[in-house]
């Protein structure tokens, strides 16, 4: 019964997000609306993690399996790929390196900035304490 209830909850979230997608004035993928909706329900306490845990674990752990048909459909696109395979590989390799480097450097910079502010704050507080 527990699993049935979890399946029901998650399918309901997906259906509601399809309804929302239909009425949004701009295009936004329903599955991502579902992600936001489920996150909102968990944060506000409308749903508890226990309400979806096992079903979510099943879906997340086997995520890759659900892409087998999408992957297989690549056999319909051999012609497009054949002519551009080297370019596509190059795009993937270079952008992976660029994304890694940019993310790492931005995070490092932000951590350093906020850490600097935190130690500055701590020093100021200490100074105040010493003066008083």
């Amino acid at each position: 019964m527990k699993i049935i209830r979890q399946v029901g909850i998650i399918f309901a979230v997906c259906w509601i997000s399809e309804v929302v997608e239909r009425f949004l004035p701009f295009s936004f993928p329903a599955s991502v609306i579902g992600m936001l909706l489920l996150f909102f329900c968990l944060v506000t306490g409308i749903l508890k993690v226990e309400h979806v845990q096992e079903k979510a674990d099943f879906l997340l752990e086997n995520m890759a399996f659900f892409f087998v048909p999408a992957g297989v459909s690549i056999i319909n696109y051999f012609d497009i790929l054949k002519n551009n395979v080297l370019q596509i590989l190059a795009v993937c390799v270079i952008s992976t390196v660029v994304t890694f480097a940019v993310t790492a450097y931005v995070v490092k910079a932000v951590v350093r900035l906020t850490a600097g502010r935190m130690t500055a704050g701590r020093n100021a507080a200490e100074e105040r304490r010493r003066k008083s």
Binding site: S31, L36, L38, A56, F65, G71, S73, I75, V91, T114
Partner: protein, 233 residues
């Protein structure tokens, strides 16, 4: 000959054929992956190669296979929605590191889309291929939805996403050394932003903080990439 092919057609257009062969092929993929323990043997890649091989060898029409394939596709949206549960499970570290996480994921998503776009222009790839490749650094379900709504071909996106993930999981340790990323928060977010769930499996091996941050980056970069592609397209 046409008699045989019509029999094959009839027998394979049951939804049980497509769904069954997909599950069996994925099971083989998982087994091989556990045995060989290399990111090159990605279970999804093995499953796709096996199924595509069977279809091509036995001249089974793709449309027959897809009758079962559609049944599996039905679980994509629920699986994507459940990424929320994965992010929610990490709400403690999200609260503590929200600024570096948001800044890093926003910069990483923008860098990914920007570099893909520039190179597609440089190599003269057409609109369709560009739209298929743009979301390639985020997790498959989100990348596929973005490609679908922006005029790309989802199956090319799936291939690019998996390839990117495998690249990330193989080269993450090397990239950490080359770019001298000593901070585990920065390393984890960089792995998650550049190579989603496949990279995250490597980040988990590198360290606990790296794994958690990489996992967090999957959902957040996905969301930011949706927003960015909505603004740009």
């Amino acid at each position: 000959m046409s008699g045989i092919s019509s029999v094959i057609n009839e027998l394979t257009s049951s939804p049980y054929f497509g769904a069954g062969i997909s599950a069996a092929a994925f099971w083989v993929g998982v087994k091989l992956n556990r045995k060989l323990r290399t990111p090159l043997c990605n279970p999804l890649v093995i499953a796709v190669v096996l199924v595509a091989g069977v279809l091509l060898i036995f001249h089974i029409p793709y449309d027959s296979y897809d009758v079962g394939g559609t049944v599996i596709d039905m679980f994509l949206a629920p699986a994507t929605a459940c990424l929320a549960v994965a992010v929610y499970a990490k709400k403690q570290i999200l609260k503590e590191y929200w600024l570096p996480v948001l800044a890093g994921c926003a910069a990483g998503s923008a860098a990914s889309m920007g570099s893909v776009y520039l190179m597609c222009r440089l190599f003269g790839l057409n609109e369709n291929l560009t739209a298929s490749l743009l979301p390639k650094s985020v997790t498959t379900p989100i990348a596929v939805s973005i490609a679908g709504t922006s005029g790309g071909t989802p199956s090319i996106t799936v291939a690019a996403v998996i390839f990117t993930g495998i690249l990330g999981s193989i080269f993450a340790p090397l990239l950490i050394r080359v770019f001298r990323v000593s901070d585990p928060v920065a390393a984890g977010l960089a792995i998650g932003a550049s190579s989603h769930a496949v990279g995250t499996s490597k980040a988990v091996e590198i360290g606990e903080v790296e794994g958690a941050m990489s996992g967090l980056a999957i959902g957040i970069c996905g969301l930011i990439t949706v927003l960015l592609s909505g603004i740009l397209c």
